[in-house]
């Protein structure tokens, strides 16, 4: 098995990078995604690649793994030039990756997802299903994932899927392991297991490229760093020789205040009351209230059912019982259209599926939920649409060639900004943000946080679902913790400490609470 | 115009029967001298397809259109338009309602055909027994008329019992399947009567494949070239058809004389048809060309290479 522990030298080998990319260029229609960048990966070392959204990080990953072909530059493996015409070539050369988006097959079993393309064969050259299952089980166990390799992938939650993606990367006997924002979809416990895994791989002498927007993470596990900005190489070096603010400075070109916005919440009257909300399989007994000007955090491990509940609140799914009061009046919301009319909007967490319509231009995305506002008697008014789109995208500091650019051509973070702009433009009373800063860079994150503070000050009520502790603690006035479809705690003030939240979320020491 | 253009519009291109008719029309043309035959038709046997073809012919301002219709009524408006623009319109083989044409040429008289198909079956059933009909589509005009005529004369053939009528839609595989279904449903069946050239071939094949040659006789209307094998194998004792070459020839002749103005489409009138004699019109302005002709082992060799 490729992940078996083999001893490796303690001192990181200095000198020859195992994989070096020089002068790599990649042009997309209208965008020069990479402009002669340089990247070196050393055996037994973790190199963190940092940069703003759209800096070109994922693009270089795709070039490294044979999904994109570079338009210029060279790839050197152990000093010899090599090309990766397909993903299989890259895998054969020992380069494997956990990609930013989960690229797996819902209809296939977990085992097959792990081994597709390099599955064990019988002597007749036919696929050996039994061997495949056994090997898959071994890998899953080794990373501490309790997943049956025989079930269909569709039956797993997002976090489990991500663990399958990690297993897939490990199933290839790799010399270079690339991880593009691997912790974005994971919760606390799994993240720690991932760190251990990285250590293990390091010890095996593998070169690791680690991409993340979370600085605590980077400083915790990286040995080296490389910085890209707007598709250009900016800097590289040893991580212990830079400070966090240096790195941010290199990345953004200015210093960013990492502190969350200071605000003194002025809570207005109650705007939303949820009483006895329940669903047959997803959640039950949800009760809480929300006031104007308040930011209410929803914390929990990934898969706690927060998203499900929020989605039923805006009418995507029907609750089996329970009531919603808006400004004291009972309202029944049967569809997002009705929710938007009531002034409740939901910014979904799954940007690609639920948030953005990637083939349509930015301005059409932004105005879609507010067409009633920009149109006249059901007829479109393009000028007003552009005005609205411009106003909100610029407030969020969107980077795009034009408002007519398809959203799919933007980087992940910039897509997220379009999605947030889209729901803010409806001028809501209550806004529910589900993992609003997932995958967006530090600069934009600060912009989103500032903006949230601004909105709260204007009297908007905000619900923020987040699995990121610092964000929850830094932004919320009050936090509700969910576990397994129930509210297990509501904390505010001094009680809001990382320990309390994590303890409630994980259910430590309170097994019989419910 | 120096040359008269006569369009021979058929139900669909690629059907042996109509190809033979086209040959006959060409023969008439060379006999007449100053005539050009435009042989055309839709790809599938639909009225809409024929309308498109006829529209194109109207635009070309042909002198006459002789059509074998896929639908008695649906062509009427278009053909009326053609007549308004001075084009002579006749129908042949499969007719058009009277207001859509001047003259209709029946290949034979319907009662004769109706009688012929049941007689062919009865001749080989001295002890009587069950027969079934395999027709073309449920909407084919002439098949339905013949079957009706056949039913009218059934009492003349005591002991012959018609069990059912099925439809093969003029598709080889459907007809085959329907014929196989008949053989299963009616184990005592003595004959299948298929008054359609597609159906009769498929039925003969089905009988041969079911190993029922000698037990079940396939008869009806078919082309010698297509039926030669069935007659040789004994799946079909005999079948009938008029000569499509003669039919095409006659249609072209009639169209020519009407367009030229040397014959008139009135009840009782006689329209010359060259070597086929003359067509006598009845009150519906219809006339019959000739008797159907019977083919069996004695003459199939001679005709199978002709049409």
């Amino acid at each position: 098995m490729p992940y078996d522990t083999t001893s490796a030298g303690d001192t990181p080998p200095v000198g020859q990078p195992i994989l070096a990319l020089n002068g790599i260029e990649k042009v997309f229609p209208g965008v020069k995604a990479l402009d002669g960048v340089h990247l070196s990966l050393y055996p037994g070392q973790v190199t963190a690649l940092v940069g703003e959204n759209g800096a070109g990080k994922s693009t270089i990953v795709k070039i490294l793994t044979g999904i994109y072909q570079p338009d210029g530059g060279e790839i050197l493996l152990n000093g010899t030039a090599i090309t990766f015409p397909t993903a299989q070539h890259a895998a054969a050369a020992g380069v494997t990756a956990i990609h930013q988006e989960t690229v797996l097959f819902d209809e296939l079993t977990v085992a097959e997802n792990i081994f597709l393309g390099h599955a064990p064969r019988t002597r007749l050259g036919l696929l050996d299903w039994r061997a495949m299952r056994r090997a898959a089980q071994a890998i899953l166990t080794s990373i501490g994932a309790d997943i049956d390799p025989g079930v269909k992938l569709a039956e797993l939650g997002i976090a489990s899927k991500h663990l399958v993606a990690i297993s897939r990367a490990l199933s290839i006997d790799a010399r270079v392991v690339v991880m593009d924002e691997p912790t974005a979809a994971l919760s606390h416990k799994e993240i720690h297991e991932l760190y251990e895994l990285v250590e293990k791989l390091k010890a095996q002498g593998k070169a690791i490229l680690f991409i993340s927007h979370k600085f605590d993470e980077i400083f915790r596990i990286a040995d080296r760093y490389t910085v890209f900005r707007d598709g250009q190489f900016v800097a590289e070096g040893r991580i212990d020789e830079v400070s966090e603010s240096d790195l941010v400075q290199m990345m953004v070109g200015r210093s960013v205040d990492q502190v969350f916005p200071q605000r003194t919440p002025t809570l207005g009257e109650e705007i939303l009351t949820v009483a006895g909300y329940a669903h047959p399989t997803e959640f039950e007994d949800i009760n809480f209230t929300l006031r104007r000007g308040e930011i209410l955090g929803f914390y929990g491990l990934v898969g706690a059912g927060r998203s499900e509940f929020m989605q039923s609140l805006i009418g995507i799914t029907r609750p089996s019982k329970g009531a919603v009061k808006i400004e004291g009046h009972v309202r029944i919301i049967r569809s997002p259209a009705e929710a938007i009319r009531e002034g409740i909007v939901y910014v979904p967490e799954d940007r690609g599926k639920q948030g953005a319509i990637t083939a349509l231009p930015i301005f059409q995305n932004v105005t879609l939920p507010s067409l009633a506002q920009t149109s006249r008697n059901g007829f479109l008014q393009l000028a007003e649409e552009f005005d609205l789109a411009r106003e909100y995208t610029q407030r969020l500091d969107l980077r795009a060639a034009s408002l007519d650019t398809p959203v799919g051509a933007l980087s992940g973070g910039n897509q997220q900004k379009v999605v947030i702009a889209k729901w803010l433009a409806t001028k809501p009373r209550v806004i529910i943000l589900d993992e609003p800063t997932k995958g967006i860079d530090i600069g934009s994150k600060a912009a989103v946080h500032d903006f949230m503070a601004e909105l709260a000050a204007e009297g908007l009520a905000i619900i923020m679902v987040s699995s990121e502790l610092p964000e929850i603690l830094g932004m919320s006035d009050r936090v509700i913790v969910m576990r397994e479809g129930r509210i297990v705690a509501e904390v505010s003030g001094d009680e809001m400490t990382p320990q309390t939240l994590v303890r409630h979320a994980a259910g430590i020491g309170q097994e019989d609470a419910a | 115009a120096d040359e008269m253009r006569i369009a021979l519009v058929v139900k669909a291109l690629g059907i042996g029967f109509f190809e033979a008719a086209a040959k006959g029309a060409e023969e008439a043309a060379s006999e007449l001298g100053d005539v050009k035959i435009i042989y055309t038709g839709p790809t599938e046997t639909t009225a809409e397809g024929q309308i498109e073809v006829i529209n194109a012919l109207i635009a070309q301002n042909v002198d006459a259109i002789a059509v074998s219709a896929n639908d008695t009524d649906a062509l009427v408006p278009t053909l009326k338009k053609a007549m308004q623009r001075g084009i002579t319109v006749i129908s042949w083989d499969s007719g058009v309602a009277p207001e859509g044409r001047s003259v209709h040429l029946n290949p034979s008289s319907n009662p004769l055909i109706g009688n012929m198909i049941i007689k062919l079956a009865a001749d080989n059933m001295p002890d009587g027994g069950d027969v079934a009909v395999l027709s073309a589509t449920t909407t084919s005009t002439n098949q339905n008329i013949w079957i009706d005529e056949m039913k009218k004369v059934m009492p003349d053939y005591p002991g012959i019992n018609l069990v059912t009528t099925v439809y093969g839609d003029d598709l080889a595989d459907k007809s085959y399947r329907e014929a196989t279904g008949l053989l299963q449903t009616y184990p005592d069946l003595k004959a299948i009567i298929a008054p359609t050239s597609v159906g009769i071939v498929a039925a003969a094949q089905a009988v041969a494949d079911a190993g029922k040659i000698g037990q079940v006789n396939v008869t009806g209307l078919g082309l010698p070239s297509e039926m030669a094998g069935a007659v040789e194998s004994g799946a079909s004792e005999s079948f009938a058809i008029w000569n499509p070459i003669d039919l095409g020839y006659s249609a072209a002749m009639i169209a020519y004389h009407l367009a030229k103005g040397d014959a008139e489409a009135t009840a009782g009138a006689e329209i010359p048809m060259g070597r086929m004699g003359a067509l006598t019109l009845d009150d519906n302005l219809e006339g019959a060309m000739a008797d159907p002709f019977v083919y069996d082992k004695s003459n199939i060799e001679e005709f199978k290479s002709i049409f």
């Binding site: 993903a87 690229v103 819902d106 296939l108 393309g117 399989t281 | 690629g14 008949l182 070239s225």
Partner: protein
């Protein structure tokens, strides 16, 4: 896990049995083994084509040109037979397979290299293939007596009391089953249809895989072309006209997801048999021919609706206590 995965197929098999029982009440002879064998034989062409179509549908494509491919290959075989009546059947078969594969490759080429949606490509080639038949045959039929005895005998030749046509279907079923479950090409069909984007990340060439699916579908259509023409002993422009819809219907009744990536060989065979039984049963149970079309249409709708119910994805369940209450039945 095994019974769970088979629900769809079991349901379909059950529906098939009910259908047979219904027919038997009206006409007991229908369920006699000899007649069932005849029904299978009659459905063989549909099974062969449906399995080819299944592979294409797996890759998120559709092949509307199968029937036209069948007709063209059949016509070429028939014409070839008229000029070279003594050609060994193996050669005819090889030619049919090769020509079918070539026509499939034409479809696949446009899908792969020019990235034209499959439904558009095959809508085009469907009429083009038919047109070519017209051109090469000059619109004429090739009739039974013009074919050599050897040519028409092959599908009828009986082995162990079962005609060669049925054996061909059995062989195709076995081969496709093996390929789909036990080869990496077979699995890549599922991958490409299930998530083309992810397939690229797995190193699968999506276009090339789709190309191969079309080649396989074409090859099977070519095989069916020869068999069809030899069996009905006639070839003309319109043979198997509209049959592509039956083929697609068999696939969806059999549980192939039209959006790709899902379905099973057993399901497809059952789906084809379901249609085959309806087609063969309606004439013998003495239902007015005018009712046949409506009945088969309703059967398709009902089958698909049932299918969708049994195949509805089992969602994730968060609440602990609900987990057991919602075990699939």
């Amino acid at each position: 896990m095994i019974p769970l995965r088979l629900t769809r197929e079991v349901l379909l098999a059950f529906a098939l049995l009910v259908l047979l029982a219904l027919v038997a009440t009206r006409f007991p002879g229908f369920v006699a083994p000899s007649n069932l064998a005849a029904v299978f034989n009659d459905t063989s062409a549909l099974i062969i084509l449906a399995l080819g179509q299944f592979i294409v549908i797996l890759t998120r494509c559709i092949d509307l040109s199968v029937a036209a491919n069948l007709a063209l290959t059949g016509m070429v075989c028939a014409l070839l037979n008229t000029v070279a009546p003594d050609l060994p059947i193996v050669v005819t078969l090889a030619l049919a397979l090769a020509l079918g594969a070539t026509l499939g490759a034409v479809n696949g080429f446009f899908v792969w290299k020019l990235d034209i949606p499959p439904i558009v490509v095959t809508l085009g080639t469907m009429v083009i293939f038919r047109g070519i038949i017209f051109l090469i045959s000059d619109g004429q039929w090739v009739n039974a007596h013009e074919m050599s005895a050897r040519f028409t005998a092959f599908p009828r030749y009986e082995m162990l009391g079962i005609p060669m046509l049925s054996w061909c279907a059995v062989l195709v079923i076995a081969l496709v089953y093996l390929m789909v479950t036990r080869t990496s090409l077979g699995r890549s069909f599922f991958a490409v249809g299930g998530n083309p984007h992810a397939a690229v990340y797995t190193g699968i060439d999506v276009g090339r895989t789709q190309f191969l699916a079309f080649v396989i579908s074409g090859t099977l259509a070519g095989l069916a072309g020869y068999l069809w023409v030899a069996r009905y002993a006639v070839a003309y422009v319109d043979i198997a006209g509209g049959f592509e819809l039956d083929v697609v219907a068999a696939c969806v009744i059999g549980g192939a997801a039209i959006s790709g990536g899902a379905g099973s060989v057993v399901g497809i065979v059952l789906g084809a048999l379901f249609l085959g039984v309806i087609k063969n049963a309606l004439p013998v149970v003495d239902i007015s021919p005018f009712w046949q079309l409506a009945i088969s249409g309703s059967a398709i709708i009902i089958a698909v609706a049932l299918n969708a119910r049994s195949g509805r994805a089992k969602g994730r369940i968060i609440l602990r206590k609900a987990e057991h209450a919602h075990e699939p039945v």
